[in-house]
């Protein structure tokens, strides 16, 4: 409701700002600094933004303040700790809401509800209104609920007045400032730029959030388990009874190995597909094949996992296992680095192909003409001119695919197995950091034990490692980036 009023004010502001700007320029928009609609936006933004900001702060602050004051009404001895208090408070809120509902449903008059002080039978009344209460209402709770309602009503009224006043003030201020020389566009654009910066900062906030949500448990883990054993241990064998060995090296090795194989599959296939699509294929072929390949990215990973487990694994065993086609005995079980890597590679194909295709397509035609005019074949043109021009973007696409490979769980669990192992043989079962993070988090171990907490340490370590890799990649891309046109 309030929101609607503010929005309506903003809309009026938009129109009035426009009109005023136009009239200040004698009706001729050419004498204005900016387009008339910018003046409109300027007024609308001034009306909306401060008012909504205050509204937002108020919405967060009011419950806190009211809660504090209502809490004092609840006798100290009726609760043991802050948790229980919060439960009582939620009861209070529920009763208050129920009373409001009752008034709205004309079960009670407003005065009746306000005067109500005897909780007798109230549970039933409210229950009939769909407000379920766990138990009978205590008189103190009811009193608190009444107080809550009063405070809430006042607070809401003050809030409404303040917000509307602010909106009007912003409106007036912006409207007064509107004249032909006012740089409305610059103001509006500054606003938009702030928005853009805000959007870009979401990434930073997310990172901070991730670090904060991992750090406490990570520290807790290192208190229980020596960091040296974690970082340099070559055995991973958690056990419930304690005495686990939790070395990260085998997991890291598995991660790298599997990602490497996955990329070795996805990058050539994806790149060649992208090149073919953008350089050779007719628009019709491109129009159908590209989205078809994108479907590969959308198939749930569990399907890939099952595909690895049931189809690819046994197939590989038939080729590389004992008694297989090759007559070698490299592969014992169906789960192996190779199985998971191959299947993951298939999943990653569209990551490489779709993005690269767009990027290759954006290389200017004059570049191709230049090469073809020298008598280069199409493939030479692609390899030596188009590809280098598109390289920075392609590296981005590959990095994205690599990131997915590192973060993938389901395929690893089903395709590569759960055994942590340091081995060079790609036909052995291994596992990755990510898979272990998931399994330790969703396991049955004591949540305060190192076996469960290690998930956070693993997450943190992986985070730091990928961060370093990314800094390195950025440095590389910077070094080799070339502008074309």
């Amino acid at each position: 409701m309030l929101l609607l009023i503010v929005l309506a004010l903003a809309a009026i502001g938009f129109i009035l700002g426009r009109v005023r700007a136009l009239s200040s320029a004698g009706g001729d928009s050419r004498h204005l600094h900016s387009l008339p609609s910018y003046y409109g936006w300027n007024v609308a933004l001034w009306t909306m933004v401060p008012a909504l900001l205050v509204l937002l702060i108020w919405l967060v602050a009011q419950p806190l303040l009211i809660e504090r004051s209502v809490t004092q009404l609840i006798p100290e001895d009726s609760y043991a700790g802050p948790g229980e208090l919060s439960l009582i408070m939620s009861d209070v809120r529920r009763v208050a809401e129920g009373l409001d509902l009752a008034v709205a449903a004309r079960q009670m008059s407003a005065d009746e509800a306000a005067a109500l002080s005897d909780p007798e039978g109230l549970r039933g009344t409210l229950g009939a209104l769909g407000v379920a209460l766990g138990s009978e209402i205590e008189p103190t709770t009811l009193a608190a609920a009444q107080r809550y309602r009063v405070l809430n009503a006042t607070g809401t009224m003050v809030r409404n007045i303040l917000v509307i006043a602010l909106a009007l003030a912003g409106f007036a201020l912006a409207w007064m400032r509107t004249n032909a020389d006012f740089r409305a566009r610059n103001t509006v654009e500054k606003g938009v730029l702030l928005l853009l910066i805000g959007a870009a900062s979401v990434a930073i906030l997310t990172t901070v959030g991730i670090i904060l949500s991992l750090i406490f448990n990570t520290v807790e883990f290192f208190r229980l388990y020596p960091a040296r054993d974690f970082f340099f241990g070559t055995t991973w064998s958690p056990s419930f009874g304690g005495g686990s060995e939790l070395g990260i090296l085998p997991l890291l090795w598995g991660t790298l190995y599997i990602s490497f194989i996955a990329l070795a599959v996805a990058v050539p296939i994806g790149l060649f597909a992208a090149i073919y699509l953008s350089e050779y294929a007719s628009p019709r072929v491109r129009g159908t094949v590209k989205p078809a390949l994108e479907v590969l990215a959308g198939i749930p990973t569990i399907v890939y996992g099952l595909f690895a487990l049931l189809t690819v694994g046994p197939l590989l065993v038939n080729v590389f296992g004992s008694g297989g086609v090759l007559g070698v005995d490299w592969m014992g079980g169906a789960t192996s680095v190779m199985t998971a890597g191959l299947v993951m590679g298939i999943m990653l194909i569209p990551f490489v192909s779709s993005l690269s295709d767009d990027i290759i397509n954006a290389v200017p035609q004059s570049m191709r003409d230049g090469s073809l005019g020298l008598g280069a074949t199409k493939s030479e043109t692609i390899k030596q001119v188009v590809f280098p021009a598109a390289l920075p973007g392609i590296v981005g696409a590959i990095l994205l695919a690599a990131s997915r490979a590192i973060g993938e769980t389901m395929i690893v669990v089903l395709g590569a197995g759960a055994a942590a192992r340091l081995s060079l043989n790609p036909f052995e079962a291994m596992t990755t950091v990510t898979a272990k993070i998931v399994s330790q988090l969703t396991g049955d171990a004591d949540f305060a034990s190192p076996e469960a907490l290690v998930a956070f340490a693993l997450g943190m370590t992986l985070f730091v490692i990928t961060l370093c890799l990314n800094i390195f990649a950025l440095w590389i891309v910077r070094k080799y980036r070339e502008q074309y046109e």
Partner: protein
């Protein structure tokens, strides 16, 4: 005549004089050319091949989930057992739980079989209950509570057959399999065959699978993906409404406006790093931030959507930036040259040109979000969440719900093989969802795409 021309050219290399016949080097280069092209075709072939294999497997395993076996029978609803007071007061009648309805159904079914002249070959006639779904008592109870006057009458009901019977109809369960099964015996199958002949049992398309809610482990025949589908839908709304604008805005800032300094480098590294963060870590983050700090409800699609937004943002940003980068600088110059501000040049010219790439990134990001389970695990969207249909937009966002991949993941883990088939059926629906999204994006992409 060519001799004459080449005689005068001092450094001219030995090159075939006729363009009609290829010299050795050209042949070699052309071979390389066709090889290169073949690689491309092979790459696409491999991709398409695997796509077909996967789709074939999915469809073959999932199609049975779309049909279901039903048993039709007339059931007498005795007043003395369902409404002891005889007041036909629904509140009173609600005291009779589903356990009280079970014998009524068994009796009714036995009578129906006798009426149809079907011999019951096992000793304990109550064993007929093994043929119908455990959902039947609730079905009858709900019908009775909704229409109390039905008590005392004989009403025709259409019950789900139990998963074993259904499996028999679909060829999943054979008589041999039942030898050691305590849920159904081979004799039951004789009854099933007879019922089929008598028209009491039929297999029809199962809309409830598409629109229904999840069911517990003991009655796979009742489970549907509808509610999870809505959960996914609401989550995708959140992701689309947040990830696309935030992602595009962030990319525009970084690519077009940001000064090249430490701060933007930091953002840049951060974004590509976030792309590599395992999705479950986003679940940890979501649990901490959205549920424990912001006090948003648990298991809610809103929270799921927020978490998935954070997860997809890097994908959207990276691909958007790549396509912004690909827009030639001359376009920006042109716009600035006629007095457009940087903002105008970006929004009027650069952004539309970058649209195809942005859409590609968004599709991939959304597809990833649509298929992701791990982060949902931690914010409570995986498990048995059979709330019924959300009754509005707000409850769609706030009420506990699951998501399609979570539902599929759950089903795939469950013990009854009937759930395995449903998991694949769920995947088919998920893919349909995905294809719809893709097609929309492709149509949009077509409208924006051009080579300049």
């Amino acid at each position: 005549m060519t001799d004459a021309t080449s005689a005068g050219a001092a450094p001219r290399p030995a090159r075939s004089s006729s363009i009609l016949e290829q010299d050795a080097r050209t042949r070699k280069r052309n071979a390389a050319e066709s090889r290169f092209k073949m690689y491309g075709i092979a790459a696409i072939g491999i991709g398409i091949f695997f796509l077909c294999v996967l789709l074939f497997a999915i469809v073959r395993n999932g199609i049975p989930a779309f049909t279901q076996t039903f048993i039709t029978a007339e059931i007498a609803l005795p007043g003395d057992r369902l409404d002891k007071t005889g007041n036909r007061d629904p509140e009173e009648m609600a005291k009779v739980s589903t356990f009280g309805y079970k014998p009524v159904i068994v009796d009714g079914l036995v009578r129906a079989l006798e009426d149809a002249g079907i011999e019951i070959p096992f000793e304990d006639k109550a064993d007929v209950e093994k043929m119908i779904s455990a959902a039947a008592p609730a079905q009858v109870r709900d019908t009775v509570l909704a229409n109390p006057e039905l008590v005392g009458q004989t009403v025709e009901f259409r019950f789900l057959a139990s998963s074993r019977v259904d499996g028999y109809e679909k060829g999943r369960v054979t008589r041999g399999d039942l030898a050691r099964d305590k849920n159904l015996d081979a004799e039951h199958l004789d009854v099933v065959d007879a019922m089929k002949d008598a028209g009491m049992l039929e297999r029809t398309f199962n809309w409830d699978f598409i629109f229904g809610a999840d069911a517990s482990e003991s009655r796979p025949e009742q489970a549907g993906i509808g509610v999870a589908m809505l959960g996914s839908f609401f989550m995708m709304l959140v992701v689309l409404a947040l990830a696309l604008p935030i992602g595009v805005a962030a990319s525009i800032y970084l690519e077009e406006f940001a000064p090249k300094n430490r701060w933007t480098d930091l953002i840049e590294v951060n974004i590509s790093n976030l792309a590599a963060v395992p999705s479950i870590v986003f679940g940890i983050l979501g649990l901490a931030v959205f549920i424990q700090i912001a006090h948003l409800p648990q298991s809610a699609p809103l929270v799921g959507g927020l978490v998935l937004t954070l997860m997809t943002l890097p994908t959207v940003i990276i691909s958007t930036r790549a396509s912004l980068k690909a827009v030639p600088p001359s376009i920006r110059d042109a716009a600035l040259g006629v007095g457009a501000s940087k903002m105008q040049s970006t929004f009027h010219h650069v952004l539309p040109l970058a649209m195809p790439g942005i859409l590609t990134g968004t599709i991939i990001g959304l597809a990833q979000a649509l298929g992701e389970t791990a982060p949902l695990l931690l914010i409570g969207m995986v498990g048995y969440i059979a709330s019924n249909y959300p009754d509005g937009v707000v409850s769609g966002f706030m009420d506990p719900n699951s998501a399609m991949p979570a539902q599929i993941y759950e089903w795939a883990k469950r013990a009854d093989p009937a759930y395995y088939e449903r998991a694949w059926g769920g995947i088919i629906i998920l893919l349909c969802f995905l294809m719809t999204m893709n097609i929309i994006a492709i149509i949009l992409r077509r409208r924006f795409e051009r080579r300049w």
